[in-house]
Symmetry: C2
Subunit: 263 residues, 2 copies
């Protein structure tokens, strides 16, 4: 892959976490140094993740314990955005989410649910739990299904793991309801990260291992999209029928080099 | 719904089992007598089912114990057709099916699988089992996914239950592989039932509670399709955007009346 020449100055960098900074509990080689170099060069960084198995606080803690200089405020997961939306629209969710993130929904009225929220529930994606969510949607006059991302799979240590998008597709097929996505690749999600940083889309780059949610989503929003060959990357992603990354590089260290060369 | 006038003589009747003859373990009122009347009038009957939680033998036994005069040879479930296909194409399946039907696959080579077969696995649809099937498909150079039906849900006693089609949609979304369906609404499945009976499509009617798999599938194959308001029927089915049944009746007893009036 030839090197990307950014035609405009890059001021903001959005990074995916899983598959870019770390794989499961292992640091991806060179990524700690890459984050430091980008910061030292004066670039603003946000970690834009669809992670819904952990709270923002525990994500920050686990990244810090791996050696990343990252604070809670640098991390943008979909849960806070969803909770703002639930409150704003007076929605009472039934949750099909990971036990670790239940605490994020404290204070939200969940009696007599009028919508379903699905996150990366992992082992909680039992037949029984999926049936319960399905029946609630079928009983609602105006069913609404909110999904924390549309990812197909991610890599956890050595294995590919099914992600929330797969179970969202299942509930959509079962109920005929189209899910409303909160998280990547939803444009509002990228935009809110950029607004936080005070950076325009054309001054920003998203670096991720998901060709559709990271790269395609960012490009649709006017950012440059860089695909890394780590995490869930598969060689077939380089010939994706719809999404053409602005660059494909071996890892975050190479992506940082590329960005800094263009400064 | 006005009564259907069949323009040609009806010689063969295909019946769905679940939601037409019985609901869970309860006989649907009048259905035993309806089957008997149809037979007495000289009509040929086959039970065309996507049931994959039981073998053909145990299905026949449970229907007989409920009072239906039904033999094993009258029942056409998708498993035997699938097994013929596996043998013919030298396929070694990984099975994601209900434990009750594992025995149907005895003698089939399952070492080093080169395809995945998904049935109505119910409680066996765990996150772990779905991940295993997903990873096998992702590792195959030429992945093939066979699904025993494309049903969205069925009614079991009082509850709607997710059906195999939902998990098939999930695996399709995760892998990008389009499933090959064996069972309703696949045209070959209806055709093979008709051939068994020596009846032409235009002399046959399919009676079911699934607007898409039963009624739509049969109509696509040239049969008349009658929807019953039992089983998983929901009032919204009467205004289905694509499928217009030849008749909609309260139950099998009414459907039988209609057919016999037209004899």
């Amino acid at each position: 892959m030839s090197l990307l020449k950014f035609h405009r100055p890059i001021n903001g960098v959005l990074l995916d976490i899983s598959g870019v900074l770390k794989d499961g509990t292992s640091v991806i080689k060179g990524s700690i140094e890459a984050v430091n170099k980008l910061r030292e060069a004066g670039l603003l960084i946000k970690l834009v993740t669809n992670e819904t198995q952990e709270t923002r606080r525990s994500l920050a803690q686990s990244l810090a314990s791996l050696g990343f200089s990252v604070e809670e405020k640098d991390i943008i997961p979909p849960c806070p955005a969803l909770i703002r939306l639930l409150i704003q629209e007076k929605l009472r969710p039934h949750l099909l989410v990971h036990p670790n993130v239940m605490q994020e929904f404290e204070g939200i009225d969940m009696t007599n649910p009028n919508c379903v929220v699905i996150g990366d529930a992992a082992e909680n994606f039992t037949y029984e739990n999926l049936n319960t969510a399905f029946r609630i949607l079928m009983d609602l006059e105006n069913p609404r299904l909110f999904s924390l991302g549309r990812g197909r799979y991610y890599r956890q240590d050595r294995d590919l793991m099914l992600d929330v998008g797969v179970y969202t597709a299942a509930l959509e097929f079962a109920t005929g309801v189209r899910a409303e996505i909160v998280g990547k690749p939803q444009p509002e999600f990228f935009k809110s990260a950029l607004e936080d940083m005070g950076v325009k889309p054309e001054e920003a780059v998203m670096i991720g291992d998901d060709i559709v949610s990271d790269v395609g989503g960012a490009q649709d929003c006017g950012l440059a999209g860089v695909l890394v060959r780590t995490g869930k990357f598969r060689p077939s992603d380089e010939a994706h029928p719809c999404v053409k990354p602005d660059a494909i590089v071996d890892n975050l260290a190479k992506a940082a080099e590329l960005i800094l060369q263009n400064k």
